[in-house]
């Protein structure tokens, strides 16, 4: 009798992976029970015993039985839009969607050439700015200091990335310059900015700069902070890109030179694409950090999403519900950061195929 090969079923695989020995069985059972216990408690708190509607606020256990999602029901508009005027919040919502849409579209390979992507982003930012700031097309003007919530967080993130990325490429190229005084000056600048905390850079740009700059250069503090943050981002990102460039064999650039390619062509077609591929994981990392650190603008009085979360539970009715508000804000951060990381993983797979 011959034994025929039987493909392992799901059950076989589970047994092989989790229950192959007595020790493994014990470990699986222990940790499985622990995970189920945690999930059960979480569901109990967050779903089963939770109070969902703002009308039922009195049922909230003041930190007792279940979560009080009523606070989100009552205050979500404050969390999402901050101090933006209540009747005009649809503008903030559309502006926010426009930015997200532009973000998604720029992940689509069709947009990956200089002209298309710049048109896309200019259009995206113009839509955002016109909607948020108003003052044209019969929209009431809303000043930057009243922008807030998710749209402000996204705007700061997008603006910093977009200003910072080209700046980072320039910084990285300057630091690799063959003229020693350029390379060294750039090195000193990068290292100086990197050795300062982001908080102090933001504070300086928002509060100290108006004392030193001439009047016409001051602008709103939101844009000053974005410029400061972009500079900070560029210095870190420049080092990441430089790392990617250093991983390239010197022969690549030399071969391009030998073929008579100009500097711009060498950089744009040979060096940068490969450098970016090498530097992709730390770059995504840097974007994630940048997204999260937008919350630091609270120090100069902006109602980004975490600050408007604070304001949401900072009132006599909802003062007990800070855990729920933090959980909600964390969920929003998670959605964006997780999407960003997954996109990074997709890019890595895609460029890896191209490399073969």
């Amino acid at each position: 009798m011959t034994k025929t090969y039987r493909a392992p079923t799901l059950w076989d695989r589970i047994r092989a992976d989790y229950f192959s020995s007595r020790l493994n069985t014990a470990l699986t059972l222990t940790f499985g029970a622990f995970v189920i216990w945690v999930l059960w408690n979480l569901a109990n708190w967050g779903l089963i015993h939770a109070v969902w509607s703002a009308e039922n606020r009195d049922l909230c256990g003041h930190g007792g039985e279940g979560a009080c999602w009523a606070v989100i029901d009552a205050r979500w508009r404050l969390i999402m839009f901050g101090l933006y005027p209540f009747e005009e919040q649809w503008r903030s919502a559309i502006a926010c969607c426009a930015l997200v849409l532009v973000g998604i579209l720029s992940c689509v390979p069709w947009f990956w050439n200089a002209r298309r992507i710049s048109i896309l982003w200019v259009a995206g930012f113009a839509t955002f700015y016109v909607l948020m700031r108003g003052g044209v097309f019969g929209l009431t003007p809303v000043f930057e200091q009243n922008w807030g919530g998710l749209s402000l967080t996204l705007f700061i993130f997008a603006a910093v990335s977009l200003l910072g990325m080209p700046l980072a490429i320039v910084f990285a190229l300057l630091r690799r310059s063959e003229l020693p005084w350029i390379a060294r000056t750039m090195g000193v600048i990068i290292d100086t900015i990197r050795s300062l905390p982001l908080l102090s850079i933001m504070f300086t740009f928002a509060i100290v700069l108006p004392f030193v700059l001439p009047g016409w250069m001051i602008g709103d503090k939101l844009y000053r902070v974005i410029v400061g943050y972009a500079l900070f981002f560029a210095c870190y990102q420049a080092e990441i890109i430089r790392g990617g460039m250093q991983a390239l064999p010197a022969g690549q650039e030399e071969a391009a030179k030998a073929l008579g390619m100009s500097y711009v062509h060498r950089i744009a077609y040979i060096v940068l694409p490969q450098a970016f591929r090498n530097a992709l994981p730390p770059t995504i990392n840097q974007f994630v950090i940048t997204f999260k650190e937008t919350s630091l603008v609270v120090i100069i009085g902006f109602f980004e999403i975490l600050a408007s979360g604070h304001a949401a539970f900072g009132t006599s009715e909802w003062n007990f519900a800070h855990v729920e508000v933090y959980a909600f804000v964390a969920l929003i951060y998670f959605v964006f950061v997780f999407a960003l990381s997954r996109y990074g993983a997709y890019l890595e797979r895609r460029t890896a195929i191209a490399a073969r």
Partner: protein, 341 residues
């Protein structure tokens, strides 16, 4: 953070002093000309003083004073008041750079701020005490009863220093447990991590009022320290400072004379005395000397009510904090109006 704050403030002040000495114009004139008062808000909320309601509108005691100030200057705060959200660290540089005209942000009158930072203080409009709250089941009646126990406090605030010096001065041997954030301190206290919790009176009252079982906690009567909170304007602008002082005085004057938001029209139509007539602008004189319209106090009371109403609306009703020291002198408090003549 502290050093950064001091350094930027100092830098700002030096530059402001160098360039701004020539600017003799009062902030009052500047704001009147602009047609808008720029008043300090908050980057989040401070219970009872600056909160944001469901519609994203500011409310609270500090905000009411901003509204009152705008109404005094322009007749109504509607369209004439801009609440600029600022952080604690930002308030002095923002005042010097002109981002805001006045700081009404629960800021204590301290020696260093008054002298080194070139700030001018109005009459205090709120006297805040630091109290300790304890679990009722401990049966403690004063902070001394917590000897051998533990007290929770937020790190890096003046509260931490106040607690330490009070314990030292009174020879109380309690363990001080320090937490980084306000939410953590409260959670730790409610989870029984410590016997007592020290906070500034308004947030302490709020914490008690919004806890799961308010009766399970007692606020001990000992006053560990006091902080007089005042309105702050740049030094050397006496015209602007006068407006602040007389606005506060008017709020107390109205309360003392029983003038409220509801009956101010009656009082204006039939003033019971010549003094009140002058106060409400029925006869001229009260506003002109300050550079305001003569009926400014009427507008002020019409907009926000008298001091007692502001206190009740923002502090007493939502948080159950008794007026105590913040009463008029006639009710055992520390406040009194200046003389209207």
């Amino acid at each position: 953070m502290k050093h950064l704050k001091t350094a930027t403030t100092a830098l700002g002040l030096t530059i402001a002093a160098a360039s701004g000495a020539a600017a003799a114009d009062s902030r009052l004139d500047a704001a009147l000309e602009r047609g808008k008062l720029l008043c300090s808000g908050h980057n989040g909320s401070f219970l009872g003083f600056a909160e944001v309601d469901d519609k994203g509108e500011w409310k609270g005691m500090d905000i009411d004073l901003c509204k009152g100030l705008a109404a005094s200057m322009f007749g109504t705060s509607d369209g004439n008041l801009e609440i600029v959200p600022i952080s604690w660290a930002q308030r002095w540089p923002a005042l010097q750079s002109g981002d805001i005209d006045v700081v009404i942000k629960l800021s204590g009158w301290t020696h260093s701020r008054d002298t080194e930072l070139n700030l001018a203080y109005s009459l205090p409009y709120f006297v805040g005490a630091f109290h300790v709250m304890a679990h009722a089941e401990l049966g403690a009646e004063s902070v001394a009863d917590l000897d051998g126990g533990s007290i929770c406090v937020s790190a890096g605030t003046s509260t931490e220093r106040i607690l330490a010096s009070y314990l030292e001065n009174n020879g109380i041997d309690a363990e001080v447990i320090v937490f980084e954030k306000g939410d953590e301190v409260k959670t730790a206290y409610f989870n029984g991590r410590c016997d007592g919790l020290i906070l500034f009176a308004p947030p302490l009252a709020a914490t008690k009022a919004t806890s799961a079982n308010p009766d399970a906690h007692v606020i001990l009567p000992d006053v560990l320290a006091l902080e007089p909170e005042a309105i702050i304007v740049p030094e050397g602008d006496s015209k602007w400072l006068d407006v602040q002082n007389w606005m506060l005085s008017s709020l107390w004057f109205a309360e003392l004379n029983g003038i409220t938001q509801a009956n101010v029209d009656e009082f204006k139509a039939n003033p019971p005395s010549a003094q009140i007539g002058k106060f409400l602008g029925a006869t001229p004189g009260y506003g002109e000397r300050l550079g305001l319209s003569d009926d400014w106090a009427y507008n002020l009371i019409k907009e926000v009510g008298n001091y007692g109403e502001i206190f009740a609306r923002n502090i007493a009703e939502p948080y159950g904090l008794p007026r105590a020291m913040n009463n008029l002198y006639t009710d055992g408090g520390v406040f009194y109006p200046l003389v209207v003549d």
